[in-house]
C-alpha cells in the first residue's frame, strides 16, 4: 500500500486563532510532519510563503489584514516569486456552497469545513499529494483545473475552446503507480 512520508513535506498553516493553529500543528506532527510554519494573518502568511516555499498551504478564510481568499489569489500569480502551483487547502468555518465556489475560483485546491477532523485533514493532504490536477490559465483564472470530472450528461455550451484537451482527467499518482510497467 501507499502512504505519505510527511517528514518530506513542508507545511504553512495560516489561521488567526491560536487554538486552531495548535490543533493543526498537533495533527500535522502526529501525521509525521516536522516542518510546520505558522502565520496568524494573511500578510504574514504571504511573506512566509515566499521565504519558506512550503509544499502545502493550509489556510483559514476569515483573518485580519487580508483573508485566506486573498492569500490564495496572491499565491496564484503565475509570474510571482515562490511556487504558484502549491496546493492550497482552505480550512474554514464557512460551510455554504457559495463559499466553496468562491474558494474554487480563487485557485484553492481543496476545501475542508470545520469542525476539523484528523481523517478529513489527512484525506485532503493525501489528495493533493497523490492526485495533483493540471493547472488552467485563462484571461481571468490561474489555478488547478476546476473540472474534476467529465459529465457525460452535460448539455450546455462548451466554454473552453479547443479540441481533445478539453477533457482534463489525469490518472492519479496512485493509479499510475499501480499500472504495470
Amino acid at each position: 500500500m501507499y502512504r505519505i512520508d510527511f517528514n518530506k513535506l513542508r507545511f504553512l498553516v495560516s489561521d488567526d486563532n491560536p487554538h486552531m493553529r495548535r490543533i493543526l500543528r498537533t495533527l500535522l506532527h502526529s501525521f509525521g510532519a516536522r516542518e510546520v510554519y505558522e502565520a496568524e494573518d494573511g500578510a504574514t502568511a504571504l511573506e512566509m510563503f515566499s521565504h519558506y516555499v512550503p509544499d502545502i498551504v493550509i489556510t483559514d478564510w476569515a483573518m485580519p489584514i487580508f483573508d485566506g481568499l486573498e492569500l490564495a489569489q496572491m499565491i496564484r500569480q503565475p509570474d510571482a516569486n515562490g511556487n504558484p502551483y502549491a496546493p492550497i487547502i482552505m480550512l474554514t468555518g464557512h460551510s455554504e456552497k457559495r463559499r466553496v465556489t468562491l474558494a474554487r475560483d480563487a485557485g484553492v485546491t481543496e476545501f475542508l469545513a470545520k469542525p476539523i477532523s484528523a481523517k478529513g485533514l489527512h484525506q485532503r493532504i493525501m489528495n493533493v499529494v497523490t492526485n495533483p490536477r493540471p493547472f488552467i490559465k485563462t484571461k481571468n483564472y490561474f489555478g488547478p483545473d476546476r473540472r474534476r470530472n467529465v459529465n457525460s450528461s452535460y448539455v450546455g455550451p462548451e466554454r473552453r475552446t479547443g479540441n481533445k484537451a478539453d477533457i482534463m482527467q489525469q490518472p492519479s499518482l496512485m493509479d499510475k503507480a499501480r499500472m504495470p510497467g
Binding site: 500500500m1 501507499y2 502526529s30 501525521f31 509525521g32 469542525p115 476539523i116 479547443g162
Partner: protein
C-alpha cells in the same frame, strides 16, 4: 532541509486557455510500504487530539470571553465596522472550534449569530434582543455544559435561536434573492 527542484511544467496552448501539467512535484513524499508495516497516522493524530483535550475547556472559555468583549463594545459604542467585524470573527471562530472542543450546541448558536451578521441588510436595525440572546445562550451553554447538556437543553436552545433568526432573515431579505438563496441553502457540513 534542501528541497528537490520542481520539474519543469508542460504547457499546452489553446485558443483561450493554457493547460499546464507538471510531473507530480510531491511524488518524493509517496512511499510504498508492506501492509504489515503500515501504521495508522489518522489514529495517531486522533490520539494526539485526545491528549490535547484537557486544554479545550479553557480554550472554549477564552473564545466565549472574546465574544462577550466584542458584544460589550457594541453595546457601549454601537455597530462600527470594526466592532461588527470583531463580533463576526469571534462568533465565526466559535462556530468552527466549538464542536472540536466538545461544545457543539454552542457552535450551532454561533453559526446562527454569524448568519444574522452576514445576511441582515443593516446590522444596526437587527432587534437588540436577537443578538443579545445569541451571545447569552453561547455563554450559558459553555458555562452550564455539565448541567444542561445531559438533557438536551443546549441543542434545543440552539435550534430555537436558529429558527427565530432564520424567520427574521427570511422576512428582511424577501427582496434580496442572493441572500435568501444563501439563507435557505443547505449546509455542506453533514449533520449541520
Amino acid at each position: 532541509m534542501a528541497k528537490p527542484k520542481p520539474p519543469a511544467p508542460h504547457v499546452q496552448a489553446y485558443a483561450d486557455h493554457h493547460v499546464i501539467t507538471q510531473p507530480n512535484p510531491l511524488r518524493h513524499a509517496v512511499q510504498y510500504v508492506e501492509d504489515k508495516d503500515a501504521d495508522d497516522p489518522v489514529a495517531r493524530a486522533e490520539q494526539a487530539l485526545a491528549d490535547l483535550s484537557g486544554e479545550f475547556d479553557n480554550w472554549m472559555q477564552a473564545e466565549c470571553n472574546r465574544l462577550a468583549a466584542a458584544y460589550d463594545t457594541i453595546v457601549k459604542a454601537g455597530f462600527t465596522p470594526a466592532a461588527r467585524d470583531e463580533l463576526f470573527r469571534a462568533a465565526h471562530d466559535i462556530k468552527g472550534d466549538a464542536a472540536t472542543f466538545g461544545y457543539a450546541a454552542a457552535g450551532a448558536a454561533a453559526d446562527s449569530l454569524c448568519r444574522i451578521i452576514e445576511h441582515a441588510p443593516d446590522i444596526a436595525t437587527v432587534p437588540a434582543d436577537l443578538i443579545a440572546h445569541h451571545v447569552q445562550a453561547i455563554q450559558a451553554i459553555v458555562r452550564e455544559q455539565t448541567n444542561i447538556d445531559r438533557i438536551g437543553v443546549a441543542e434545543t436552545l440552539s435550534a430555537h435561536l436558529r429558527g427565530v433568526a432564520d424567520d427574521y432573515l427570511k422576512a428582511v431579505n424577501h427582496d434580496r434573492p442572493e441572500h435568501l438563496e444563501a439563507i435557505l441553502a443547505p449546509s455542506i457540513v453533514p449533520g449541520e
